[in-house]
């Protein structure tokens, strides 16, 4: 069900997930401009700050609407930091890098 743009196969993904300290999920609703922007922003930021320590799972709610309830998603795009705990939710297209970093607790809020 996951829509991984990296196109890695299942095994590799699982292995990567196990290694990753940072388990991130990006919830989107279809391939909208917002979701594409968000994904690109996220990718860039992770490469910059969390290289090799992260795993991104993109979840399309149009494909799997039940997860909107299970994971309490209202806004899209929403980035959820599953790991490290506690869970953090960051909504928006992640264009405000400062705030994304604060939201991911990679940087202290000013």
């Amino acid at each position: 069900m996951t829509n991984n743009p990296e196109n890695t196969d299942e095994k590799a993904e699982t292995a990567e997930k196990q290694r990753a300290e940072w388990d991130l999920r990006l919830y989107v609703a279809g391939q909208t401009s917002h979701s594409l922007v968000a994904f690109n922003n996220l990718k860039k930021l992770c490469e910059e700050h969390l290289q090799g320590r992260y795993h991104i799972e993109v979840i399309d709610l149009l494909v799997n609407p039940k997860l909107s309830r299970d994971d309490q998603i209202l806004a899209v795009p929403t980035l959820v930091r599953k790991l490290p705990e506690p869970i953090r939710k960051i909504i928006g297209d992640l264009s405000d890098t400062e705030r994304v970093l604060v939201g991911l607790q990679l940087r202290l809020a000013k």
Binding site: A29, H34, L61, P65, S68, R69, L74, T78, I91, D93
Partner: protein, 584 residues
């Protein structure tokens, strides 16, 4: 739960806006058939005003009575909490969920977990709601309350755009929706949700006057539909949500010429021999302890005896106490209560506001369908509201009861020292028959007096009567009206005795006089007899003497004739020697 209220607004016959019946008693009457179908209605009100319950009842009624499944999306309480909260109203949410008639989706928003980082939309919410709607094929949706989003999502401009989109989307989905909103300062809702909902806005309100809370509902806006514009009281209790469209009652009602007994034959006599009119409103006023309740009990006893259903509202006593007290004057109401003919409702006037009382009474009447209603006493409503308010309330109550042709009896307490006619809560002009009870203090005791102050359409006695409570109920006595004014109680008994004594004396006196006359007559008769006897004697003597003298005269005459005959021959020679003898 649909109740017949034929006398209220009729659903529009014109094909216009299609209505979705809410199933909430009263609301469909004042809204002319329900909420606008496939549109969104905003229900707003302060905390605890009943918004959520109204929404839930809309869904439950839809599922149970109209076969329309529903979705409740709540932002503040989770499904278990909600189910528990509304179980007290008799709604089995879990059962409906299990039957696939209802979906409750709890949206948890934690502000502290959320960081906003640019453009977004609420497609997640849409998808989620769409999923829930599609799961049960929902026709009804309640969102309680969307305003939680404003607290969670800082970007108001995005939120407002999304809300606009949401309402359009709901319309496209073909669901009838209710969204709730917290009442704001100077606006209907705190975040101006009314801007997006243009079809129907319902305002709930809970007002506290003199420490008594009254819930009210008002349709602030209903595009494309006639609706009652007033504030209507509503009830929230074990039966759910009930709106009371009382002001829809008019003065057009049929009247009866049938009479019903007051339960006291002598009082019936004072009312043209027949009693009250059926469907009329009667008032018994009096000071404390003047016997108002006893008179009502007598009336109720008679009504139940005729097999009429009676609803008795007690505002100062508990039913048990009331029945015990009435047993002391020989009125057994328990048997009627056991038979189900008599139902009591006891409450303190201050328990709810006047509107609530009114709503409550109306609903009790709807349920029990009585022919007779007693409110004892109405004066206690003073404590639940101001005088003009209680007057209005009673006026509406009277209109309502009259429209049902229910014979009504009110009692009202007159404060000691006030003019008897003054304190009747200003309803004296509304009632048909008015009995006034008075305590008269005289001769070191208190006696009860009763008179009829007015009785519309009835020839009625203008006499003041004394009434006494006996072991067999109430009895009326004539008061003593004499040269010293009216006398009651012992004074009356004393006076009656004195009267009897005087009467006796007079009779004896007369008898005595009769005897004297008789004696005189007898004496007279005796005298007459004596005189008669004397007379008879004298008469006899006289007659005897007359007879004797006549006999003598005859003898002399015959003697003379003999002499004459003998002397005829001598007469030629001797002139009349017999002449000398005749003169002797």
């Amino acid at each position: 739960m649909t109740t017949s209220r034929e006398n209220h607004l009729q659903p529009s016959q014109l094909v216009g806006l299609e209505k979705c019946p809410s199933g909430i008693p009263g609301l469909d009457q004042i809204s002319n058939g329900g909420l606008p179908r496939e549109r969104t209605t905003l229900v707003c009100g302060g905390a605890g005003s009943g918004k959520t319950l109204m929404g839930i009842e809309f869904l439950v009624k839809g599922a149970v009575e109209y076969g329309e499944p529903g979705v409740l999306m709540c932002f503040e309480e989770n499904a278990e909490e909600l189910a528990q909260n509304v179980a007290s109203l008799g709604f089995d949410l879990n059962g409906l969920i299990a039957n696939g008639q209802l979906v409750i989706d709890y949206v948890r928003i934690e502000r502290s977990e959320i960081e906003e980082t640019g453009e977004y939309d609420l497609s997640g919410l849409f998808i989620r709601l769409g999923l829930a709607i599609d799961t049960v094929g929902a026709k009804r949706v309640v969102l309680d309350t969307l305003e939680a989003l404003f607290a969670a999502l800082p970007n108001e401009s995005i939120l407002r755009a999304e809300l606009r989109r949401l309402f359009r989307w709901l319309k496209d989905k073909g669901v009838t929706a209710i969204i709730t909103g917290e009442r704001g300062e100077g606006s209907l809702t705190r975040f101006g949700l009314e801007e997006y909902v243009s079809d129907c806005v319902i305002v709930l309100d809970q007002r506290i006057v003199n420490q008594i809370a009254t819930r009210r509902l008002r349709i602030a806006k209903y595009r494309g539909s006639a609706h009652g514009a007033n504030e209507y009281p509503f009830l929230l209790d074990e039966k759910g949500f009930t709106v009371v469209p009382i002001t829809a009652i008019s003065l057009q009602y049929s009247v009866s010429t049938e009479r019903v007994s007051t339960g006291i034959p002598k009082l019936d006599l004072m009312l043209a021999g027949k009693g009250y009119y059926r469907g009329s409103t009667s008032l018994i006023t009096g000071t404390a302890g003047s016997g108002k309740t006893s008179l009502s009990a007598q009336f109720v006893d008679a009504a139940c005896g005729r097999g009429e259903r009676t609803l008795y509202f007690l505002f100062e006593e508990a039913p048990e106490q009331f029945m015990r007290n009435m047993r002391s004057i020989g009125i057994d109401l328990q048997r009627w209560a056991d038979k189900g003919l008599l139902r009591f409702h006891a409450s303190r006037p201050a328990t709810y506001g006047l509107e609530m009382h009114l709503a409550f009474i109306e609903r009790m009447v709807e349920q029990f369908q009585p022919q007779v209603v007693v409110l004892d006493p109405v004066s206690s409503f003073d404590s639940a509201g101001s005088l003009p308010e209680s007057q209005t309330m009673l006026m509406r109550l009277i209109d309502f009861l009259k429209s049902r042709r229910i014979t009504t009896l009110f009692t009202s307490l007159t404060a000691a020292g006030n003019a008897a006619e003054q304190s009747e809560m200003g309803i004296s002009s509304l009632i048909d028959s008015w009995l006034l009870l008075r305590n008269l203090e005289q001769g070191g005791e208190r006696t009860r007096l009763l008179y009829i102050l007015k009785a519309r359409g009835t020839a009625h006695s203008n006499r003041i009567r004394e009434f006494v409570m006996t072991d067999n109920g109430i009895d009326l006595l004539d008061v003593y009206v004499g040269p010293e004014g009216i006398l009651t109680g012992s004074a009356r008994i004393f006076q009656e005795m004195q009267d009897r004594l005087a009467d006796l004396e007079r009779r004896q006196d007369n008898e005595h006089k009769h005897l004297i006359i008789e004696r005189k007559r007898k004496a007279l008769e005796a005298k007459i007899a004596e005189l008669q006897a004397e007379f008879d004697t004298e008469l006899h003597e006289i007659e005897t003497s007359i007879a004797a003298s006549e006999l003598d005269a005859e003898r002399q005459l015959s003697g003379r004739m003999y002499v004459a005959a003998t002397q005829k021959s001598k007469a030629l020679s001797e002139p009349s020697p017999a002449h000398e003898g005749d003169q002797k």
